[in-house]
């Protein structure tokens, strides 16, 4: 028997398109979720204080009709749990589908306005609170005032600068995440807030942490020496990706490729929980960071992300609420 029959059978095969990047990411995330188990971690008596207990909830709203509206809300729950890699989100698929949708359709249906306004209210356990109003123009210009009413004066005084370029790097990393291999994209975002986009050595980070601790002691700020949750190197990396992605989202919400890239990146973080909800009457995905997610203080973003620059857990707001709107 010659092979003509086999060749004929082979020729009848429908040749499918290669799997889409999003499909591969979905399948990989599902496998990782299935394969991940909480690892054994070694407790270390002292952690750098840049790693803070700060579970963060993000609500990602997307107009169901296909236009890509996008909103984020940060809510600190104050709870803490074991750090390190949790179970990677089996629910990453909705994020990836939304990212794919945003990337495909948002260019055709741009958001209204040319700027994103974020009004924040941070409340502390001792009842103190403060507000903030951030105006991110789509061209990268950023204005800040304590309240919305103060923004006109702030705009007259001139934009807040991005002296070390970290905001621009975070936004660029989010855009790049839509095309780079995911490991490279994660690394780029994780390092985006470091000077020149390069992570300093562990020794340098420890030196900076000790210096900051000494500064706080000199200033009379009470320092909590209780051990912070242990964190594996990958948990730290994921914390940096999480924090920097949120910064990029805040600064670049007007750009669909930023939103898509951030969603791609958040979908790679183990333990992120995704739920369907509604925000202002629009369908939304609500993201919970994993228990004990470590946020980093590596960003020099002028956006006071919850948990940043805090000397002790008592200095962490009990809640941080932000409302986002598009404006002109």
């Amino acid at each position: 028997m010659n092979d003509a029959d086999l060749q004929w059978v082979a020729a009848q095969r429908p040749v499918p398109a290669p799997p889409a990047r999003a499909a591969t990411a979905r399948a990989r995330a599902a496998l990782t979720a299935h394969a991940s188990e909480p690892p054994l971690v070694l407790l270390r008596p002292e952690r750098r204080n840049r790693r803070l207990r700060w579970p963060i909830r993000v609500a990602v709203a997307a107009a169901v009709a296909g236009a890509a509206a996008f909103a984020a809300t940060l809510v600190g729950s104050g709870s803490s749990g074991p750090a390190g890699l949790g179970v990677q989100n089996a629910a990453a698929a909705p994020l990836l589908r939304l990212a794919e949708h945003v990337a495909k359709t948002a260019q055709a249906t741009p958001l209204p306005g040319d700027a994103t306004l974020i009004e924040r209210l941070h409340t502390f356990p001792d009842q103190r609170s403060f507000t903030g109003a951030d105006l991110y123009l789509d061209d990268g210009t950023y204005y800040y005032a304590p309240t919305r009413a103060g923004l006109p004066a702030a705009m007259a005084a001139g934009p807040v600068s991005d002296p070390d370029g970290s905001i621009a790097r975070q936004v660029a990393a989010a855009v790049a995440a839509t095309t780079l291999p995911i490991d490279q994209a994660r690394l780029r975002m994780a390092n985006a807030a470091f000077p020149d986009g390069k992570a300093p050595s562990e020794a340098e980070l420890d030196r900076q942490a000790r210096a900051a601790q000494a500064d706080r002691a000199k200033a009379g700020v009470k320092v909590d020496h209780s051990p912070l949750p242990p964190a594996t190197p990958e948990a730290i990396l994921n914390g940096e990706i999480w924090s920097n992605s949120l910064d990029a989202l805040q600064a670049g919400a007007g750009k669909p490729e930023v939103r898509a890239g951030v969603l791609d990146l958040l979908a790679t973080i183990p333990g992120v929980q995704v739920r369907h909800t509604t925000t202002d009457g629009k369908a939304a995905l609500e993201l919970d960071s994993p228990p004990g997610r470590t946020a980093t203080s590596s960003s020099s973003s002028s956006m006071p992300t919850p948990g940043r620059r805090s000397a002790s857990p008592a200095a962490i707001p009990a809640s941080s609420r932000a409302s986002r709107s598009r404006t002109r």
Binding site: M1, A4, D5, L6, W8, V9, A10, Q12, R13, P14, V15, P16, P18, P19, A23, T24, R26, A27, R28, A30, L31, T32, H34, A35, S36, E37, P39, D183, R186, L187, A190, K198, A199, P200, S201, E202, L205, T232, P233, E234, L237
Partner: protein, 193 residues
């Protein structure tokens, strides 16, 4: 600059065989991602060829099932492909059977079938995916014969690999493929293709 886990993972991947990765995954489940990265495209392609758009889900399920069954992987084989194709073939077969039962259940005139009965006749969905000519050529074959032939002609597995994939003796594979090829040959000659 500190050593980043991503780099370590990449370095580990380049040096590891499938068998080593699967063995490592017994202690660290994420080591199994190497198997996914190596074979996802091929498994996805095979599944998509056989079942169309549902192929993505079946390919993803293949790796989940493989992960759960990794303790049973024969570590003497470096290549996980036959094992993965075998799992995929079983899932594809289940998909066709389920779809066919569902289709018949929607037709009130359909004869009742035992729920656990094995129906390996060529159903409408599978026939659609094969295309009219190949479906006609394979209509007389059993599901096992169709699976073996497509693993040979579409996935490019050897007889030995098909035996591993389907977990049957190689003699059984030879006889199934012999019957399948004879049927194809007969069709090709009859239709003068």
């Amino acid at each position: 600059m500190s050593v980043r886990p991503v780099s370590a993972v990449v370095a580990r991947r380049e040096a590891s065989s499938d068998a080593a990765a699967i063995a490592s995954s017994l202690a660290d489940g994420r080591a199994f991602e190497l198997v996914f990265d190596r074979h996802w495209v091929a498994i996805h392609s095979f599944c998509a060829s056989r079942v169309g758009s549902a192929g993505e889900d079946i390919a993803a399920e293949t790796f989940r099932v493989a992960f759960d069954g990794r303790r049973r992987f024969d570590g003497r084989c470096d290549d996980a492909r036959p094992w993965l194709y075998g799992i995929a073939s079983n899932l594809i077969r289940r998909h066709f059977r389920t779809s066919e039962r569902g289709r018949r259940a929607l037709r009130r005139s359909a004869p009742l079938e035992p729920v656990d009965g094995v129906d390996d006749t060529l159903g409408r969905l599978e026939a659609q995916r094969l295309g009219p000519q190949l479906a006609a050529a394979m209509r007389a074959l059993s599901a096992e014969e169709r699976d073996a032939l497509l693993l040979l002609a579409w996935a490019g597995l050897s007889y030995e690999e098909i035996a591993r994939a389907l977990d049957v003796p190689i003699g059984t594979v030879r006889s199934r493929i012999h019957r399948a090829r004879a049927s194809i040959q007969s069709y090709v000659n009859r239709e003068d293709i």
